[in-house]
């Protein structure tokens, strides 16, 4: 086992190996794992009943429901947009495609606050570019549900596309062409051939999008304004409660959001190996052989 033949870095020198392990585990434990676990303790400081009391508070349930509603709508919009856009980007040729594919990543590099600002500059009912016209026609976007959905959709926009595009590229289009030549129409080809191939990428993208949407804070805060509790989402509620010295409530809501985030990650971790395990397993096996 411990043959000294291989000089592959990391396979040799046990001292270095242990040093790196300790550095990595220590860093991640202190920075991420311990703080995340500590929230659990804070949330249940008053016992389970105190935690449940917090959850039965109408303000809290309203905020959680609102967050879930926004996240569901934003995820559905991004699902349609993401799958459609991925297919167009990978399977078709059109002018400006490269520029478009760069622009799609833009939301990842823009501050949530700037996202909020951008939306109110266009859709504010008083001074926005389109806001007054829309408002005259009875459509209010800023300070209400549609604006909050738009802000959330904006920040999560690239996530599904980033998952689906590489899978579509790997897949190639031979099977789709075969289906076409056997007389399948566009929809049949999509449902029977393309969709099954990108199914897991979509599921993964959707889980990420939903998790991101549920937790969006800055962009939603700007667009929602300070309009009473009506537009308070769960993350905004965490801030308000903490600053009003209702820390128990803040930690309880935070715990729910953390729990949700971790559960989504576990779901993704369980789903993902189906696509990626072979590559990873062989790489590990190869390294092991060498050791």
């Amino acid at each position: 086992m411990a043959s000294t033949q291989s000089n592959v870095v990391g396979a040799g020198s046990p001292a270095l190996k242990w040093l790196l392990r300790i550095v990595v585990v220590g860093y991640l434990f202190m920075l991420i794992a311990w703080p995340s676990l500590y929230v659990v303790r804070r949330a249940f400081e008053g016992g389970v009943s105190a935690f449940l009391d917090v959850l039965s508070d109408p303000g809290v349930t309203h905020a959680l429901q609102l967050s879930v509603k926004i996240a569901v709508v934003a995820t559905l919009i991004n699902l349609l947009f993401g799958v459609g856009m991925s297919l167009l980007l990978v399977r078709y040729e059109f002018p400006g495609k490269r520029a478009l594919s760069a622009l799609i990543d833009l939301p990842l590099a823009v501050s949530p606050i700037v996202v909020g600002l951008a939306l109110i500059l266009v859709y504010n009912g008083r001074y926005g570019w389109f806001g007054p016209t829309l408002e005259d026609n009875g459509i209010q976007i800023v300070f209400s549900f549609p604006g909050m959905v738009m802000a959330t959709t904006f920040v999560a926009l690239p996530l599904i596309i980033r998952e689906v595009v590489p899978v579509l590229e790997d897949m190639g289009d031979e099977q789709e062409q075969a289906a076409n030549s056997l007389g399948a129409n566009g929809w049949q080809t999509f449902w029977r051939v393309t969709l099954p191939g990108i199914k897991w990428a979509i599921v993964y993208g959707v889980v990420l999008t939903f998790a991101r949407s549920l937790g969006e804070f800055g962009a939603v805060k700007v667009v929602a304004g300070n309009v009473s509790g009506e537009t308070t989402t769960a993350p905004v509620l965490v801030q308000q409660k903490y600053q009003n010295f209702e820390q128990q409530t803040a930690y309880a809501v935070a715990f729910i959001l953390v729990a949700f985030a971790v559960v989504s990650l576990i779901i993704v971790a369980l789903l993902r190996p189906k696509d990626h395990k072979p590559a990873r397993a062989t790489a590990t096996a190869a390294i092991q052989e060498k050791i």
Binding site: W34, P35, V90, L119, V122, P166, D173, P235, A283, I287
Partner: protein, 283 residues
């Protein structure tokens, strides 16, 4: 935005394997593209254009005001310097973490893999609260960093952990160890092998991750709200300045600072790309 484009394609060069046929648009797909573009413009392009247009409405005056305002200038400096520091930290730690995840085997490694993604999935405001619970006023460790510049650094380090790790990891996984063996058999020491063989291969991925990490750090808002205290001239970052300007009804100066932030992100993307190319050539 070259790096961004590359990462859409999953980090691989865009035109490695061109599929046998790419269709030009027929009626149906063209209509689909039209609909999606209208939505994309209404949601992303027009609003972002509005930010730049609003900032530039009265010429350079607004930018000058923003850059001569001491509080704004301090916020921008803090944001940029903390982000550079955090990105440097991520370049080192991210590479080491990716290395351990790919090359080492020990019980609990899968858990470690999961922990790395937590900052991606956790709402930013909760990230701030989470850090506050361990490093805040009631810290069980006796470490209190809230309302200091260290808190800004801590929060940025937390939210940017996954970027370098997740870009380097796949490259390291696909890397053949044969080359390393060859280098070793030719008498290269382990350090030399790492510097001359492994590092050059990883450089593009490290810098792609660093770019994402920097862009995220300069735009961070949520995790800082509770943790940094937003003290003017001390712990206030650029996003917070933009937010206060919006709250104060001063949309134009908010737009000016926002535009400066967008420019910084753009410059960073270009600078990282140049450094990476230089390093690649030398390697």
């Amino acid at each position: 935005m070259a790096t961004a484009t590359a990462s859409v394609a999953g980090g691989r060069p865009a035109r490695v394997r061109r599929p046998a046929s790419r269709h030009s648009l027929t009626k149906g797909p063209a209509l689909g593209l039209g609909v999606l573009m209208v939505w994309f413009s209404l949601l992303v392009l027009i609003p972002l254009a509005a930010v730049i247009a609003t900032a530039g409405e009265d010429g350079w005056g607004v930018f000058k005001d923003a850059l001569t305002n001491e509080q704004t200038l301090n916020a921008l400096k803090l944001t940029v310097f903390s982000s550079i520091g955090v990105t440097a930290l991520n370049i080192v730690m991210g590479t080491i973490i990716a290395w351990v995840l790919v090359r080492d085997r020990f019980p609990g490694k899968a858990l470690l893999d999961l922990v790395i993604d937590i900052p991606f999935a956790m709402p930013t405001i909760v990230a701030g609260l989470v850090l506050l619970s361990l490093y805040g006023p009631e810290s069980p460790l006796g470490i209190e960093v809230n309302n200091t510049r260290k808190a800004v650094f801590l929060a940025l380090a937390f939210v940017t952990v996954p970027f370098v790790v997740r870009t380097v990891q796949p490259v390291l996984e696909e890397m053949e160890t044969d080359v390393e063996d060859a280098a070793a058999s030719l008498g290269a020491s382990r350090a030399t092998t790492f510097r001359r063989v492994i590092l050059p291969t990883l450089t593009p991925a490290i810098f792609a991750g660093a770019t994402l990490s920097f862009a995220r750090a300069i735009s961070e808002y949520g995790s800082l709200v509770l943790l940094s205290g937003n003290l003017p001239n001390r712990t206030e970052v650029a996003s917070v300045r933009v937010y206060s300007a919006i709250e104060g009804g001063n949309q134009q100066s908010a737009a000016a600072v926002a535009t400066i932030l967008l420019l910084v992100a753009l410059v960073a993307i270009i600078v990282f790309d140049v450094i990476q190319r230089r390093l690649a050539r030398r390697g």
